[in-house]
């Protein structure tokens, strides 16, 4: 038996403070989390997806680059494939265009029609885009091809989420 004995009053007050503290923490924690939620949220938009394309190998001719990424549909993760047409423009800057036609969403091909060289061609309804992705007037598409933002990492091209072309 120790000398400083704990009185019944002291024992009860310690216990109650302890238990009350836990309960208060249990209630406050989620509230604080809700309040500062935007800070805790994982950034989905800033993700760049690696592609198998080496930056050094990009030429002036648009080449098709396929890449895979994980797509999350609610709780279901699936492997999705994406495609980009990648080339270097006159100034030596990399351009990565989305292959999805702005008309009804078919996949466009570089020089897909032999009679229309130096153009992206949509096989569905004959949509045409120039090399920089601008739609040719008189063909069905009404907007230029989307552009992927990109970064270079370890010599490989990483692509972000395709965005509508600026200044269009």
């Amino acid at each position: 038996m120790s000398k400083n004995r704990v009185s019944r009053r002291q024992f009860l007050s310690y216990t109650l403070t302890g238990v009350g503290g836990f309960m208060a923490a249990g209630m406050l924690m989620p509230m604080v989390r809700f309040a500062i939620d935007p800070v805790l949220q994982a950034k989905a938009g800033g993700n760049y997806i690696p592609t198998p394309q080496k930056v050094a190998d990009i030429t002036e001719v648009p080449t098709r680059v396929d890449f895979t990424f994980e797509q999350q549909d609610a709780w279901y993760n699936s492997e999705e494939t994406g495609t980009a047409w990648v080339y270097k423009d006159d100034k030596g800057e990399i351009v990565a265009l989305s292959p999805v036609c702005k008309h009804l969403g078919c996949v466009v091909n570089w020089e897909g029609d032999k009679t229309k060289p130096e153009h992206f061609y949509c096989p569905c309804h004959g949509g045409l885009y120039t090399k920089d992705g601008t739609n040719v007037p008189g063909t069905p598409p009404i907007a230029p091809l989307d552009v992927y933002p990109y970064i270079e990492k370890d010599g490989y091209l990483h692509l972000g989420k395709a965005e509508p072309k600026k200044g269009a």
Binding site: T68, E79, T81, H103, L104, C106, V107, C122, P123, H125
Partner: protein
């Protein structure tokens, strides 16, 4: 366009641009060739996804037509003819059937639509990357076939 409400909305809005229907044919058997028919169905359904992605603006990918391998040829011909009649009367100019089951080859000539028969590939042992490349190649070859058909119909 896939057979989902979102894509069908798009179809209703831009009907004049969509003149092609694709019907995948899925064989089902519970006998000795159960695995074979499953592999065929798997291959065709994966291929139809890729094909839809390439041509989504001009074709409607219908939900597959499943049939028992034990059905007689006459029954299959009649069923498909009913589909064909309905599709052609509802404004589709081109109808394609997509299958791995070679028994359709013998009755192909009785249909107005084109039958695309591709031997199924053993996809079960392939990794994802390789699988996609192979399917992409197949779709690229089909691209020519579709273009020819569309050009001849114009």
């Amino acid at each position: 366009m896939k057979w989902i409400s979102q894509d069908i909305d798009m179809y209703i809005k831009s009907k004049e641009y969509v003149d092609t229907a694709v019907l995948p044919l899925f064989p089902v058997s519970l006998g000795d060739d159960i695995k074979q028919t499953a592999a065929m169905s798997e291959f065709i359904s994966l291929l139809s996804i890729q094909l839809e992605r390439q041509f989504r603006g001009r074709l409607v990918m219908l939900p597959g037509f499943s049939y028992l391998k034990s059905f007689t040829e006459d029954k299959l011909v009649n069923d498909i003819k009913l589909w064909e009649k309905e599709l052609l009367s509802k404004g589709f100019k081109h109808v394609f059937y997509l299958t791995s089951d070679s028994s359709w080859k013998t009755i192909e000539s009785q249909f107005e639509g084109g039958l695309i028969w591709l031997p199924s590939l053993p996809l079960e042992h392939m990794d994802e990357q390789y699988k996609n490349t192979i399917l992409d190649d197949q779709v690229k070859q089909l691209l020519q076939l579709f273009l020819q058909k569309w050009q001849s119909g114009e």
